[in-house]
């Protein structure tokens, strides 16, 4: 293939987690942009032979940014193994509280620490401004608030999981603790302020999206299918339910699918140039069956939200597209902040529920050999599938993580950006920034920590098909 490669390495050199290549055809037109995930761990193999009760604690080490999601998803799978999937009210509510705490801290981190420089300073801003330290200099109150929002979510996790990062609260068939009086009191004391801040965060995201709607309509956007967990009555549910898939017009592809049958419904294509696979809906095939997940897909897919303020926000969000699915890449942030407020409302409800101090923590039933856990993680639908032998050893493990579901969409988004903003082989700041901004809307975990603690400048080189460097620059 006679192509020219432009390699953009936003995070790889040090983070080692991903890089972008823009492939040009012979006429120097953008053929494709590729996000390469360069990390390979091998969890699905090295976990084989481990006792199943270790798994919820072990697999959360896949991701330290949202470990609770892996912890709970693996625990849901192990609930089935011990025949304890019908949890006690206390166990389910403690897990939900943990999950909403996770959603709250992760969404706050994503929006403020990670994305806010793009929204506050613009896509063309100087690289010295494009980090949370610069936001702190100009908007100190906003950053203080962001830090305290994330802290509150982490405190909810600590009191339900035992530890802020990589906790141990969920066990097969239930949880190992409920809330003590003082834990409940300290969380209740904080929630009113969090609700105020969550409303403010939603307003920032909403106002930004509506003010820039024309620019954002074109930016990194494309139509797609959407997949999400859904409650029996069609409500948004981040912890449990069936799967719903809709097409670009909002028509149902499948609904209330029992996710125990996920492997008959979904497949993941292997491509030579990335360690991350490309999932698709089998019945539609790899070309047409790819889909998006995460906040945008969840708000697009749900019939309603069961907390009043988030539901009002959802209606306003839906009105923008006249009820049709919203496909804007940057609308992820608005959807994310609707969920942030939803999480705060749910935490407030649960803190008033006496069950969170119950003592009935674990159930067991008829032992099974195989079960699938599924949850909506902050970044989207997460699948964990295990088989366990009669000596308690894991003998099969299959994981489809949230960001993997968005693999094709992220590649589509950066291809769109490259087509719109690359002319010839001249690499502008605007192009580099926009590629980052597009990836960040989906937030693969690769970009997150870097940007939270400093800048994420890019290095770009233009290399022809014979490997000659035609030019390079870094920001």
């Amino acid at each position: 293939m006679n192509t020219t490669r432009i390699v953009i390495e936003p995070v790889t050199r040090v983070e080692g987690h991903g890089k972008v290549t823009v492939l040009l055809d012979e006429n120097r037109q953008v053929q494709q942009a590729r996000l390469h995930i360069v990390e390979f761990r091998g969890f699905e193999r090295f976990i084989l032979g481990r006792p199943f009760w270790e798994v919820p604690v072990l697999v959360q080490r896949l991701c330290g940014i949202c470990p609770v999601s892996h912890h709970l998803c693996a625990a849901k799978a192990m609930d089935g193994i011990v025949g304890g999937e019908a949890l006690t009210p206390t166990a389910e509510k403690i897990r939900r509280l943990m999950h909403y705490g996770q959603m709250y801290q992760s969404h706050a981190l994503h929006f403020f620490h990670l994305a806010s420089p793009d929204l506050l300073f613009g896509f063309e801003a100087d690289v010295s401004l494009r980090n949370v330290v610069a936001v702190a200099a100009k908007y100190p109150e906003l950053v203080t608030q962001a830090v305290l929002m994330r802290k509150y979510g982490q405190e909810v996790i600590k009191h339900t999981a035992g530890k802020k990062i990589h906790g141990t609260g969920a066990i097969p068939g239930g949880v190992n603790k409920s809330l003590a009086d003082d834990e409940r009191r300290v969380l209740k004391d904080g929630i009113a302020q969090q609700l105020v801040w969550a409303r403010g965060a939603l307003k920032i995201a909403r106002d930004y999206t509506l003010e820039h709607i024309k620019e954002l309509a074109e930016f990194a956007s494309f139509e797609s299918n959407h997949v999400s967990l859904i409650r029996d009555d069609g409500a948004l549910d981040l912890y449990h339910g069936g799967l719903r898939a809709i097409d670009a017009d909002g028509k149902i592809i499948f609904d209330h699918l029992n996710y125990q049958a996920y492997a008959e419904t979904f497949a993941e294509e292997v491509r030579d140039w990335s360690y991350m696979k490309f999932p698709f809906i089998r019945s539609l095939g790899p070309e047409k069956g790819w889909y998006r997940v995460g906040p945008l897909s969840r708000i697009d897919t749900a019939d309603f939200i069961d907390t009043p303020e988030a539901e009002a926000a959802r209606k306003e969000f839906k009105a923008v597209t006249g009820g049709r699915p919203n496909h804007l890449t940057m609308a992820y942030h608005w959807a994310r902040m609707i969920e942030l407020l939803h999480a705060a409302e749910k935490i407030a409800q649960l803190l008033d529920d006496p069950d969170i101090q119950g003592k009935d923590l674990v159930v067991k039933g008829k032992r099974r050999e195989e079960w699938v856990g599924l949850i909506e993680a902050p970044r989207g639908t997460l699948f964990h599938h295990y088989k366990v032998d009669d000596r308690d050893r894991v003998v099969m493990c299959n994981l489809i993580v949230s960001t993997t579901n968005n693999n094709e969409p992220m590649n589509r988004a950066i291809t769109k950006v490259a087509r719109d903003h690359l002319s010839g082989v001249d690499i502008t700041d605007g192009l580099l920034n926009r590629i980052e901004v597009a990836i960040r809307a989906y937030d693969p975990c690769l970009s997150c920590a870097t940007h939270a603690l400093g800048q994420m400048p890019l290095e770009v080189s233009v290399v022809d098909h014979e490997g000659r460097v035609l030019g390079s620059r870094s920001t």
């Binding site: 790889t12 050199r13 080692g16 400093g454």
Partner: protein
């Protein structure tokens, strides 16, 4: 007085140690007064443009790129801290060390129940760095000055260690801060 420069990197880690740095909460606002997160610790590694006082490393080395980054950190930082279990001992990713790499790749890209791979190829594009035969702790590759245990080390542990270094004081890490789980 100019601010001390601090560089951080996640090698074969999960970012949990970086998240634990953020868990210092309000103290992060004090920290950014005390230090400057180096402009390009995290980008153009080949030309680490200024010398750093402290480098904080999360994760061990699972591919050639991790090794290269680690060496640049050693060359450009006065003090290197191995932060967390993966950097110190390889951690959970090192569970693959007893298994041939080929088996790990086969499980992920050929035999899984949702794999669709008609050609049977394992990802091997030239943009992908070479995987190492096993996961190496950082001190098997370069000299390390301090190790902070934990998965992750708690925010208080990281805060104590970093402020002691920045104030030129001995690290005072009582048992509560270095025990975990």
């Amino acid at each position: 007085m100019s601010k001390a420069r601090v560089a951080t990197a996640s090698l074969a880690g999960c970012f949990g140690c970086h998240m634990s740095i953020l868990d210092i909460d309000e103290r992060i606002l004090t920290l950014i007064e005390l230090i400057e997160f180096h402009k390009s610790p995290i980008n153009d590694i080949k030309t680490f443009s200024e010398r750093c006082a402290v480098g904080i490393l999360e994760g061990g080395c699972c591919n050639e790129e991790n090794v290269e980054v680690l060496r640049r950190f050693r060359e450009n930082c006065d003090i290197l801290i191995a932060c967390g279990e993966c950097a110190i001992m390889g951690g959970i990713p090192a569970m693959r060390n007893g298994i041939p790499l080929e088996e790990c790749l086969r499980e992920a890209y050929r035999t899984g129940p949702t794999v669709y791979n008609p050609s049977g190829r394992i990802p091997s594009d030239k943009e992908l760095p070479l995987l190492l035969d096993r996961v190496y702790p950082v001190q098997e590759v370069v000299k390390i000055d301090y190790s902070l245990p934990g998965c992750p080390p708690s925010a208080d542990t990281i805060w104590q260690a970093l402020t002691a270094l920045l104030n030129n004081e001995p690290m005072n890490l009582p048992y509560e801060l270095i025990k975990y789980d």
